[in-house]
Structure formats: C-alpha cells, structure tokens
Subunit: 211 residues, 2 copies
C-alpha cells in the first residue's frame, strides 16, 4: 500500500501571505488541526498546526510565514512511499498529520492520524469465520461441520472449557480478528490454534481415507 | 484490552476558570491539541481543542468555560471499556483524542490517536518467522527445513515464481505480518497460504510414517 492510497485529498492549504486570522478561520471551519503552507504552484514551503496559530494570535503575529515551520523542519512523505512509513513517522514523532508530496514537491494530500487508524483497524475488523471459510476452501474435502467440531475440540484442549461445535460456530460468527487475537493472547497463539484445528481435521480426513 | 491500558496518563487538564490565554500556553508548552476541563475533584465537565482556543482568542473570550464543549456534547470512554471502542469512536468522529473516566466520572487519562496507532501497528510489526516458529512447535515432528521447503513449494504454486527454501527463509526473516498481508493481498489469503503449508508438511509427515 502506498502513501497516496491512504491520504486525504480534500485537505486545506494556505499561502505564506495569508493572515494568521484567516488561517485560524480556515482551520476552524474545516475542523483541520494542521495545514500545509504552499507556494502559488502548490509546492510545500511550510507547515502550521493549530498550536502555532494559538501562539501567533496571542503574540500578535501577522502572517502564515511568521508562524509556520519551514519545510526543512517538518516531516513529510512522498506519494509512492510505503504507507507503513507514514505509520512509523506518526508514531515516532506523535504527529497529528503530515503532508504528502509528488515527485515535483507539490502537495497532493495529507495523511491524518485517523486515516491511518481506519486503514490499520480494517484488518482487525475481519470476521473470524471468514478465515475459517478460507481454511475450509483450502482443505478440500473437509466439511464446515467437521471444521467446527475440530475447533471445539482444540478450544477445549486449550482453555479446559467444554464447548459445543454449535457454540463455537456462534462465537466465530460474531468475533472479529482483533477480538480473537486479544482473547487468545496474541497473533502467534491465535495462529497456532488455527493450525492445530487444521492439523486435527487433516488427521481425521487421513484416518477416514484409510478405513 | 481495556481503554485504561491504551490511555496516556500524563495528560494536561484545565479548570473552567482558567483564562483562554493560560489554556493556550498550557497546550502549546505540552504540545497537546486537546484538554479536558475538570472540576476541583477531577470530574469531567468539558473538553477543549486547540481550534476552540484559536476561535476564543480571536473572539476575545475570557475563560475555559466560554470556549469548552460541555460534557453532554463530547465523546468519552470509561477505563474498563474495551479499547476497541476508542478505535471505533476515533474513526467515526475523526477525533484527535478523547478523555477516559473511571466509574466516579473522574478523568484518569486521555486516549490520543497515536496511542491507538501504536497499539494497532504493533500487530503489523510481528515478524512472519515468529508465526512459522509457532507453527513448527505446534506440528510436532516437522523440522524447520521441511517447513521452509513446503513454503517454497506453496509459494511457487501461488505466484508461479520459482523460489528456493533458503530464499524463502531469508524473506520471512525480514518480513513483518503487515508486509506479508499486503504482499499476499489480504489476511484471508495470507492465512490460506499458511494452512496450505501446514497441509503439505502434514501430508509429507503422514507419507513418511507409512513407509
């Protein structure tokens, strides 16, 4: 995934001559906490956060150029950089958002922290039964009932709690991948559980074929 | 995971009588874009963002209570709520952060968007070979070499590209779960690949046992 697939294209921007008052109004009306400062041809020249605006208003600064952080001091990313880089930079520098540039240094978007959260959390929202469906499709000749029965057995082995196949199925119908990871105690443990289920159904399949 | 495990305990707060100027300075110095407004006994009574401060400064408002959003209008979460709820609310309402309360309505923390990103992205950073190690441990009697060989075969089947077991091993040594998901085209596909590898090593193990 590239940065440009994650960025908000509907961003605000200001020029270095805009008054601090106008920058303030633009940010408030659009509910944006940051804004790139651009040249007339949309090249990045600086970055303003709402905290630069509060300070500017208090200290009676006149224009955007008086309160902005110059390009050398800010963190930005290029359209074709991996979106992972945006995640790392946001996390390391505790950023709210960062500008995205094309190869001509023109601002084409802004990646905001909730754009990142939306992308990251979509993985957590995958329903667990989707994984089981994919598993069943891969393990040809295994029925859904056999898969649920094996899962109930593995679940009992791991947790010590007796669970019926029907209950297990109901659980995974509602559960998301994120919930499953937290419930099992981590990604590795979750995967090991699935592998154990796979192993059991395969062993049973082989056993049946031998009879 | 609960909200309290994700929240920042080192948050700033203001009282409703604090001047807008002082709120501004407090936010700038701590680099916080939001602040809860609390009563003397630390109960939540309102919420201020830096955009409320810019507007307040421009319009000559006097105190925090003149610019804050009252409790009824803001989104907050309780310590023992699932942290997932914070992710959903942040994403739905495009929030920068939200206050966390205990059962007595006292503010005990703030969940910021990068706290969420840190938590969510830690899953993506799990090294793929950790999953293979867990798999090998679960599939007793399968060697690491057999696992890598099976992976190289499945990889060739899926991608059509010939890959040696050593190359495969080198890839998964460096790759993270996040990269693997993006490379294979989604969680289900990644997972199906692992199941296919598991199936193959089990089939080979059963084959060897028969000889």
């Amino acid at each position: 995934m590239k940065a440009k697939e994650m960025m908000d294209k509907d961003f605000i921007y200001v020029s270095s001559e805009d008054t601090v008052e106008n920058v303030s109004i633009k940010m408030e009306e659009s509910r944006r906490f940051t804004s790139p400062v651009v040249s007339p041809d949309m090249k990045l020249i600086g970055w303003i956060t709402s905290l630069d605006v509060t300070r500017g208003l208090r200290e009676g600064k006149k224009t955007a150029s008086d309160i902005m952080h110059p390009k050398e001091e800010i963190i930005y990313i290029y359209e074709n950089d991996p979106s992972r880089l945006a995640v790392i930079e946001t996390s390391n520098h505790k950023l709210i958002s960062m500008p995205v540039l094309n190869k001509d240094e023109i601002v084409t978007g802004v990646i905001r922290s909730f754009d990142i959260i939306d992308t990251l959390s979509s993985l957590y929202d995958v329903k667990v039964y989707k994984l089981y469906e994919a598993m069943q499709q891969e393990l040809k000749g295994v029925t859904w009932e056999e898969l649920m029965e094996a899962s109930a057995i593995i679940s009992r082995r791991t947790t010590g709690k007796r669970v019926k196949a029907e209950d297990y199925e109901r659980n995974i119908r509602n559960a998301t991948f994120g919930e499953a990871i937290w419930a099992t105690g981590g990604l590795e443990k979750f995967f090991v559980g699935l592998i154990a289920v796979g192993e059991l159904v395969i062993a049973r399949k082989v056993g049946k074929a031998r009879k």
